[in-house]
């Protein structure tokens, strides 16, 4: 079902465009031009973020943070197998998907661990990436309380995920 949503939606937009006599081809060219500009303005920011994330995990700082946070996470009801996933989730989308796949191979797709992990990944976003991209075309770089609030909300979501998977 969901496979039809996107193509049908675009088709409807284009058909309406023809009926309203909108220059569809011209609009596409303008759109592509706009996307080049957009990409140029956001690329420097996510490049720096991706370098930082790579350094963070490869240097072992990530593992250090993991050991530091594990007792707190366990107290909140997050299984220790998932500590790393919860930490990586706001930093890297591809990283957390890869980690979830590893967990699936290890514990099986229907285990409590993997169901929790799936809900954590499915119900959250790559916070740092979203913040970088959304604020990259905007002049201000002072995010004030934005990042702490997002991270706290994601953590509450992860705790809720683990609790919900116990009863559902």
């Amino acid at each position: 079902m969901s496979a039809y949503i996107i193509p049908l939606f675009i088709l409807v937009v284009i058909v309406v465009g023809f009926f309203r006599r909108v220059p569809v081809y011209g609009s596409f060219v303008t759109g592509v031009k706009g996307s080049l500009d957009l990409l140029l303005s956001i690329m420097p920011y996510f490049t720096v973020i991706l370098i930082a994330v790579e350094l963070f995990t490869a240097s072992g700082l990530g593992a250090k943070l993991e050991r530091l946070l594990e007792p707190a996470f366990t107290a909140l009801g997050i299984p220790s197998e998932l500590t790393q996933l919860v930490i990586i989730r706001p930093l890297s989308g591809n990283g957390s998907i890869a980690m979830l796949q590893t967990l699936m191979n290890e514990y099986g797709a229907d285990s409590y661990i993997v169901r929790c992990g799936s809900v954590i990944v499915g119900a959250s976003e790559t916070t740092f990436y979203v913040a970088t991209i959304y604020f990259s075309t905007v002049k201000e770089k002072k995010l004030r309380y934005a990042i702490p609030v997002c991270l706290a909300a994601s953590l509450v979501g992860a705790v809720a995920a683990c609790a919900l998977c116990r009863i559902m």
Binding site: S2, I5, F9, V13, I14, V16, V22, S27, F28, T30, G31, G34, S35, L38, L39, I42, M43, F46, T47, L50, A52, V53, E54, L55, F56, A58, S59, L100, Q101, G108, A109, V114, R115, S118, V119, G122, A123, S124, E125, V130, A131, I133, Y134, F135, V138, E140, K142, L143, R144, Y145, A146, V149, C150, A153, S154, V156, G157, A160, A161, M168
Partner: protein, 193 residues
């Protein structure tokens, strides 16, 4: 973060530090290519939606809600916000991003700091509001799950909880900031000009 990682890396594995940084930049190039493809399609569709008035129609549907949450934003910003949310809900995350960036641009009006509304909008997007986590369900199905879709309900609830927490925290922080600055929330609408 770059500095902290680099310092630690220089201590633990100096010979790999440079390669790791190149890896990160390489990831960015890959991401840029896939983002260009995604934006090229969606910004074009958005262009047609703007010209046909479909954007306005979507906005009419949702704007009463968004007007209440994002107080003091103009019609154009609300329009992009509506489109961003609709795309998110339908699971078209790739379409949501370019529309979200447009919404941010439209809300910022060249100010120096992120406004409370902009942060609130980021919180919505950073806590994820999609109805069906298609990628994860696909992964579980491929790994031989008996009922790959049984995470839909807990995911939906977890998302709701995290988004609600985020919105409440953001509103709370906005209030505290306003108090610290000693002007109270009432002055916010005046800041628009």
């Amino acid at each position: 973060m770059v500095a902290a990682g680099l310092v630690y890396m220089t201590i633990t594995a100096p010979q790999q530090a440079f390669t790791v940084m190149l890896d990160g930049a390489g990831n960015a190039v890959e991401l840029a290519l896939s983002l260009f493809a995604v934006y090229a399609v969606w910004l074009s569709v958005l262009e047609i939606m703007d010209k046909t008035g479909i954007s306005k129609a979507v906005n009419r549907l949702f704007s009463p809600l968004w007007r209440r949450i994002f107080r003091g934003e103009d019609e154009k910003s609300l329009e992009y916000i509506s489109l961003n949310f609709s795309a998110n809900l339908l699971g078209m995350g790739s379409a949501a991003t370019p529309m979200g960036i447009k919404a941010m641009e439209s809300m910022s009006r060249g100010r120096e700091k992120a406004s409370d509304n902009m942060i609130l909008f980021l919180v919505f997007n950073a806590t994820s509001i999609q109805l069906i986590p298609a990628t994860v369900i696909g992964m579980r199905a491929a790994s031989g799950s008996a009922d790959a879709a049984d995470i839909i309900l807990p995911s939906l609830l977890a998302t709701l909880i995290s988004t609600l927490t985020g919105v409440l925290l953001a509103k709370l922080c906005a209030k505290i900031c306003a108090k610290i600055n000693g002007r109270g929330g009432k002055k916010l609408p005046l800041e628009r000009s």
